[in-house]
Amino acid sequence: MNRGSDREAVVERLLRQSLARAGGAAPRGQCLDPEMLAAWVDGTLKSDELKAAEAHLSDCSRCVSMVATMVKLAPEPEPVTRGWGIGLLHWWVPLTAGIAAIAVWIAVPGDRSRPPEQTIARTEITQPEPAAQQPAEERGSEAADKSSPGRPAESSRGNRPPARTDADTNADAKASEAREVAKEVEPPRPTALSEFQAVSRDERPSPPAPSAAPTADSPRAAAVGTLEERVTSGASPASPGAAAAPASMATRSAQVGRANTGTRAPVIEIASPDAAIRWRVGAGGFVQLSRDRGATWEALGSGVTTDLVAGASPSATVCWVVGRAGTVLLTTDGRNWQRLTFPEPIDLTAVGATDARTATVTTADGRRFTTANGGLTWTR
């Protein structure tokens, strides 16, 4: 185990185990009383109090539990409408764009008496693509939401800038500025993502037979087809291999996989029988969890960097995910993923599962492997 990412996955597991059961070092200072707890949550602690409280909380499992309980009990905060960064961005971006446009207009020599048709033509050429027409912050948020497990999207946004109009003489400059801002906001996309897209185009599986349409009572419902199928169809057909899965396998899965139909983010969404719980997986070991029907997503560490292409969830806490190079992941608590050993390092295309022990995985060449002991052993 020489790769840093693998070692970090080990560190993460150990942290989860040790911190969850640890009492911590002897905490500094007195435990927080309800007044301090409440003031913490309401954000009314003075800076020195906050610092002292943080120092104490970092070592006191009791107080952290109390604060965590408070946070879980606290009602959702109002959408941020006056945040410093957002508020500043809302007027700073258009203002800067406007100034830049004027500066360019003054600085660039040219025949300003040219006919209006030329101006219109130039505007049309430089119109931003549809995605760029969204407010910069929103696009940044979406990009983070869809592509980066390390940067979940902000769940709520405040005021949006007014919609663009054709009459806006600064439209091009604004769009350009917005793109620049979005580049800063949007995290760099993993290289594996583009590779994944390329691979998925090259390795397009044959379309599933009509009879392979998923049903809630069949393991095929749990088996998610390859990415390309879902990207192109928007549906969730099972792969050919999954279509031949034994019908007697009594699955409890109500999972429906689908991919975002966007051109840049091939992400598979896996629904659990609990409508509120769902995961999404994608390139480079990307895994996210939503507990609110997909409204917000939490990035999870999968412990792998291979592309994940399909998943199945037979219960709200159990989810199987498969991917390239024999990658099989399993979570039994919804959050912590364990990589299971698969007999061959072959690309996997689909998975159907009945519970945390029993699953059938389909390989890229159409073979099926079944485990009845949570991935300890596999049989064909």
Partner: protein, 310 residues
């Protein structure tokens, strides 16, 4: 029950009186608190303000400006209501029962949907009313409310505290390995092919690496890994955006990994192959734990409590 006299001891009263509150400021705050709605006399309310300031500035002597800023930031209406309830004002209690007791019970139900936390809420309600007496005086839990948060948040805090204490009282806690023991073990650990020893080394190095982190980083780790808060919840607690939480967690994990590797190499003297073996064993160890849980009889498996996170 209708008297609004202040149940304070002499020393405490003297301490509170040491915080001089300007009469004009006191009158303004009294009006702002709408305290006369509950029949709270101005001196009583001013006394509550003084008690709050005395507690907040314990051991310090703030100037008038600081005191004014602090008092103006308080939840004055809630403080007036608490004063009135503590004194047994009927209309105040009616208001509390109508507006705030449901908050308490909703929070209890959110903690344990089956209603198991209702008794905690009932206990708090009783303590708020003041079922216990001391020296013939009814002692209400309201005397601990000083207006630094909303009354609703404070009630949730009291409930959270009692809930956590009850949970912890029923759970045997293991403490982290003693730092000295860790240091001794690491220093005295020659390269050893023994697998258990390697596993132990990784865990101990991890404990030391976590202990060496800054307070905020440790708190973030605790929120995420120990308390299972979501990134968004952790962010709310730490006043950080969830993307920032995620970024800091990733950085902290890298730092811990680097530190663990450094300790294994420099302090224990392992070579690269042995360090790699340590991580492999630790991974296998974690995996086997997961497998144990996974292979439990499904009927006996404890499913996690329903998630109440947002």
């Amino acid at each position: 029950m209708s008297t609004l006299e202040n149940p304070t001891r002499k020393g405490e009263a003297d301490h509170i009186r040491s915080f001089h509150i300007d009469a004009a400021l006191a009158a303004r705050l009294y009006r702002k608190a709408n305290a006369d709605r509950w029949g709270v006399a101005e001196p009583t309310f001013v006394h509550a303000l003084g008690a709050s300031a005395a507690r907040s500035f314990a051991g310090r002597h703030p100037n008038g400006r600081e005191i004014e800023r602090y008092l103006s930031s308080l939840h004055l209406e809630d403080l007036a209501l608490a004063c009135a309830c503590a004194a047994g004002h009927e209309a105040a209690w009616e208001h509390f029962v109508r507006e705030l007791r449901p908050v308490l019970y909703r929070a209890a139900d959110a903690l344990q949907p089956g209603g198991a936390a209702r008794d905690l809420a009932d206990g708090i309600y009783g303590d708020l009313y003041g079922l216990t007496e001391s020296g013939g005086e009814r002692l209400s839990l309201f005397r601990y409310y000083h207006g630094r948060s909303s009354l609703a948040t404070w009630l949730r805090a009291v409930l959270s505290q009692r809930h956590v204490d009850r949970l912890r009282s029923g759970r045997r806690l293991e403490s982290l390995a003693d730092e000295d023991l860790v240091a001794t073990t690491l220093a005295a650990s020659p390269p050893d092919p023994d697998e258990n020893h390697y596993r132990k080394l990784v865990r101990l190095a991890l404990v030391r690496a976590v202990a060496a982190l800054g307070a905020r980083d440790r708190l973030r780790l605790r929120c995420y890994y120990a308390e299972d808060l979501t990134l968004a919840e952790s962010g709310r607690l730490l006043r950080e955006h969830e993307a920032t939480v995620s970024r800091h967690l990733a950085r902290t994990r890298r730092e811990i990994r680097d530190e663990v590797e450094r300790q294994l190499r420099n302090e224990v003297g392992l070579n690269d192959v042995q360090v790699s073996r340590c991580f492999e064993l630790a991974a296998a160890d974690a995996g086997s734990l997961d497998l144990e849980r996974m292979l439990e009889d499904p009927g006996q498996r404890k499913e996690p409590e329903p998630d109440r996170s947002t």
